[in-house]
Subunit: 196 residues, 2 copies
Amino acid sequence: MGRHREFDVEKALDAILCVFWSKGYEGASYTDLTEAAGVERPALYSAFGNKEALFAHALDRYYERYLNYIPDALQKPTSREVAAHMLYNAIDLNTRYPKHTGCFNITGLLAGSNDAEPVRQMLIDVRARGEALFRERLERAKAEGDLPETAKPDALAAYLMAVLHGMAVQAKAGFSRETLEAVAEQALATWPAKSS
Amino acid sequence: MGRHREFDVEKALDAILCVFWSKGYEGASYTDLTEAAGVERPALYSAFGNKEALFAHALDRYYERYLNYIPDALQKPTSREVAAHMLYNAIDLNTRYPKHTGCFNITGLLAGSNDAEPVRQMLIDVRARGEALFRERLERAKAEGDLPETAKPDALAAYLMAVLHGMAVQAKAGFSRETLEAVAEQALATWPAKSS
DNA sequence: TCGTTACTATAATGATCGGTATGAAATTTG
DNA sequence: CAAATTTCATACCGATCATTATAGTAACGA
């Protein structure tokens, strides 16, 4: 019994996600968040918990809603196609919305006060999980003969993630989609050839 | 006439630089800054101006004191050596100090409230100047025949900067020097060969 | 229609933010 | 020495931070 919630929790979280995406964790104030969500403060607390929990909800949603191309990419037949799909989907994501360029995760990962350390660690952990998935995919590729025996999956995964993170920074610095595509093209030029 | 300054302005700025390096602009409070500098608030204001000016001083000093390898790197005879020196010096810088890993510039560039927008723009501009220097060096290399006629200096410069920025992110995520060296090695594997 | 429930919105909490007024201490000038 | 001037440490400023207590109200079961 009792009154039902008036606002759409999903829509509110979507709006909040965009604010964190643009400003990071501490850069986003509750004034920003409530304005974007169209919902007052206590409603956010009752629906999501405190700011850290709210950010965690937004992070989950980011992976589920915007980084959903990663599972698809990992299923591509060759490691080169996997890498290419990761790169070009990331470029699209990093430049599609002028109000929040770059990557939600990377934006929040770098700077912050001591209070924000748990949040930074959360982002570091999630990032590492993504890289691990990619590394495992490359290990499979090596086992399948899609990558040469000399290939080092861990180094290759770290390398591609570096390019992805670098493009997230550059998107924040205002890079166009076209420039980032040239970066991706150059990155793929290094990809090891099949051993066959 | 009047009383002499008791604290060492240069040492104070060095200490402050490290705080901004670790926490970014807004993540560093005056409490953090005065503790690190061993100097009270009004002294910082009289010596450097407000927080934004203080950050600008720290940024200048960062380039002059820690990024001084860039002019040297640009003078290397071949573009490949230029790129290699930029990469390996950046790795050293990004991992040498456990208290402030990564890059001062990139750390402050991504996140921030609306109030911090001028600071972010400052960092974006400085970053762009660095990339422009590198691009001009690559154009010279192309003119000299050190790069093939098909090489695109702007894309190549953006690519290498992406790797550098990505490594700055990864250093913040705790990557070891060895892992970043593997990333650099992979990045250099893509470098265009001489046309001769 | 009534009592209960849980929402909404307002406003206030203590803490901390960047920035500064204040007066004592220190040094040069006369 | 005394006057003038600058730096120092302390304490305070209004604004804003995340968070929550309070009060009002809409929606439910009975």
